[in-house]
């Protein structure tokens, strides 16, 4: 059976109209064949697809992912798949490292305020509908926000086991929500076990506690990710900024007092060490002087003893004269009182002040 127009048997006359119709149909069928061939080629080449640099693709064959583990993810470049309904290609914006941020326990702050580092004005209380916070073990209030950076370890689990919302779309929204919930839970859990001052002072320990909890939940809930890094920022309620500042100031004053005391201690000890060394050195010098002098005296004694024994009177007179001679030469002011006409020594009366006047000192004013 053929749709092509029949040619009349030889010898029969050809109707010009039928001939024209046959030619037209022949041309049309040629066009149809050409279009079909083009469509077939297009159909075959429609299986080619490209994956961008910041995305991955998963190929489903009759609904089931092709490949296992990491091989299920197709990297950037050109790939081929059978046309639907045999194969279906799902593209997912997977970067090397994913990140979620939690602000459920932070006070209300717009993105602009956060970027500018501005803290909005406060009221006397916290509105639970607007302001987030966590309760600490000592039943105080603290603000905390955190971020988790993670790597997709099991893409099939992450994409096909966590819903990304309406229309059964594929993506990473579902796993992101699951990680975010785990992070929020970790903040509540870690704060519930720690005292306020521990959270504020031991920030690294608190951050580690949050990360441990996140990792624990990731394993328990089989999220198919690996946590790379967890960063946590905490702060006291804004309503208590002044009270906390007073504590900080008091701490600084206490440290200043300790520093001053430490300086005093160093100074005092240095002075004492100097004084002690000086006293010991002085004693050693005194000892050396005394020993040297006594030995010198003994030597002199031994030397003059024979002369003294020979003529004590002469020795005494000579030695006395020598000393007086040296002494008189060195004395600044000497006064000689001659004998009065009656043969008695002249009388000299001195009016002595309590403090004797310095010889050669300033003259008293007139």
């Amino acid at each position: 059976m053929s749709n092509e127009p029949k040619t009349p048997p030889p010898g029969q006359p050809i109707d010009p109209g039928a001939q024209a119709l046959a030619d037209a149909l022949h041309s049309s069928f040629g066009i149809v064949k050409f279009v079909m061939a083009v469509l077939f080629v297009v159909f075959l080449f429609s299986g080619f697809f490209t994956v961008g640099p910041r995305e991955k693709a998963i190929k489903l064959r009759f609904g089931k992912p092709v490949g296992e583990g990491d091989k299920v993810l197709l990297g950037s470049g050109a790939h081929w798949a059978w046309p639907y309904p045999i194969d279906e290609v799902i593209k997912i914006p997977i970067t090397e490292v994913q990140e979620v941020r939690s602000r459920s326990h932070w006070f209300m702050q717009t993105a602009v305020q956060e970027a500018a580092g501005e803290v909005p004005p406060t009221g006397p209380s916290l509105n639970p509908a607007l302001d987030g916070y966590a309760l600490t073990a000592d039943r105080n209030i603290i603000h905390a926000k955190a971020s988790v950076r993670y790597r997709i370890e099991d893409p099939v689990r992450c994409v096909f086991d966590f819903s990304s919302g309406a229309d059964q779309a594929y993506g990473l929204t579902g796993i992101s929500n699951a990680v975010l919930n785990a992070l929020d839970n970790a903040l509540v859990y870690a704060a519930a076990r720690a005292r306020l001052d521990d959270v504020l002072r031991e920030k690294t320990a608190f951050q580690d506690a949050v990360q441990r909890r996140v990792v624990q939940l990731v394993l328990e809930q089989k999220l198919g990710i690996t946590v790379e890094q967890c960063l946590v920022e905490t702060r006291n309620p804004r309503q208590l900024d002044m009270a906390f500042k007073n504590v900080t100031d008091a701490g600084q004053r206490a440290r200043a007092a300790l520093t001053e005391a430490s300086s005093y201690q160093n100074k005092k000890m240095n002075e004492a060490e100097g004084e002690a060394a000086a006293r010991v050195n002085a004693a050693q010098a005194e000892r050396s002087d005394m020993v040297a002098k006594i030995e010198g005296d003994a030597a002199i004694f031994k030397k003059v003893l024979p002369y003294y024994l020979a003529d004590p009177q002469l020795f005494v007179q000579q030695e006395l004269n020598k000393v007086l001679g040296r002494a008189i030469a060195g004395v600044d002011y000497k006064m000689y009182l001659p004998t009065t006409p009656d043969g008695k020594p002249m009388e000299l009366r001195l009016n002595l002040n309590r403090e004797p006047m310095k010889i050669g000192g300033a003259k008293p004013a007139n």
Binding site: A129, Y189, G251, A261, A272, E275, Y308, V316, L337
Partner: protein
């Protein structure tokens, strides 16, 4: 013949496509399909692949999302066993475990409707469990007394039991506390207490700092005095050694104590006349006595 073969192939392909559209449906990895016959669920398909079906009009195929759905319940107020007002919200990860049960329970397997229903169950379970525990079970520095995990497990078990009792075809994969808080009026009271605590802490820090500083200074004074006293003792010992050496020399002077006395007096005399001295002599003092014989005597004139 060649042209006929091509026509046959194209026809077969078109027929196959038509048959597949009518009689085959596909279930993806993330889906579960419910097949209804004349409106009644007759089977569900939970594994991915291509499956046969009767044509539309006889059988219909509904595809449901089998993945875990996350939702968070309302952050609302409950009462703890010891009468504290506590705000709490939990998050739940759930999924369809029995599509045949789930599908008729919620209109055409609506996930949103299921979540509305589940939210009510979760809120009730949360209130029931929170009411059994004192506040110390939720927040406590002592890890032994903290019942955080146990509370989460209790809520999850209660929710799971309820959805099972309702034959909802739902399985709770996980459940956790997302937020804990206090009513707004209570936060103001907490701030007042925290302010008082901070003041106490500030006073304590100041006092501790001052006290420690005083201790350091007193200790420094004591240690410095001890150092000087020790040095003084050492100095005395050294001087004593000098005295001992001097004493060993004394027998030399005992050979003639009068000479020794004279030499020391002579030494003292010389030392006393060294500086700032005014010396007044009369004519009887040696050597000025010599002047008596040389100066003219007025009385003799």
């Amino acid at each position: 013949m060649k042209k006929n073969l091509l026509t046959i192939i194209v026809s077969v392909v078109l027929a196959l496509v038509f048959v597949m559209i009518l009689f085959v449906f596909q279930v993806r990895q993330s889906e579960v399909a419910v097949v209804t016959r004349f409106g009644q669920p007759v089977r569900d398909v939970t594994t991915p692949g291509a499956y046969f079906r009767l044509p539309p009009g006889i059988e219909s195929v509904y595809k449901l999302d089998q993945r875990i759905q996350n939702f968070e319940d309302t952050f609302n107020e409950t009462y703890t066993a010891d009468g504290n007002n506590l705000l709490a919200s939990v998050y739940v990860g759930w999924r369809i475990s029995d599509a045949k049960a789930f599908f008729p329970k919620f209109k055409n397997g609506s996930v949103k409707e299921a979540e509305r229903n589940l939210k009510d169950i979760v809120t009730q379970a949360k209130a029931a469990v929170v009411g059994k525990h004192p506040l110390g079970d939720f927040v406590n520095a002592n890890a032994q007394d903290l019942k955080f995990d146990a509370i989460e497990a209790e809520i999850k078990a209660l929710v799971q039991a309820q959805v099972a009792a309702n034959n909802s075809g739902i399985r709770i994969e996980y459940l956790g506390v997302k937020r804990l808080g206090l009513p707004e009026s209570v936060t103001e009271s907490v701030f007042a207490l925290m302010t008082a605590d901070r003041k106490k802490l500030a006073d304590q820090l100041s006092e501790e700092g001052n006290s420690a500083a005083r201790k350091i200074k007193a200790s420094a004074d004591r240690e410095a005095q001890l150092l000087i006293s020790t040095a003084e003792g050492e100095a005395r010992r050294i001087k004593g050694e000098g005295d001992a050496v001097a004493a060993a020399v004394y027998p030399v002077f005992q050979q003639n104590p009068e000479l020794d006395k004279f030499l020391r007096e002579l030494e003292a005399l010389e030392a006393s006349l060294k500086e700032r001295s005014i010396l007044i002599f009369d004519s009887r003092t040696t050597p000025f006595n010599l002047l008596n014989n040389t100066l003219p005597n007025k009385s003799s004139k």
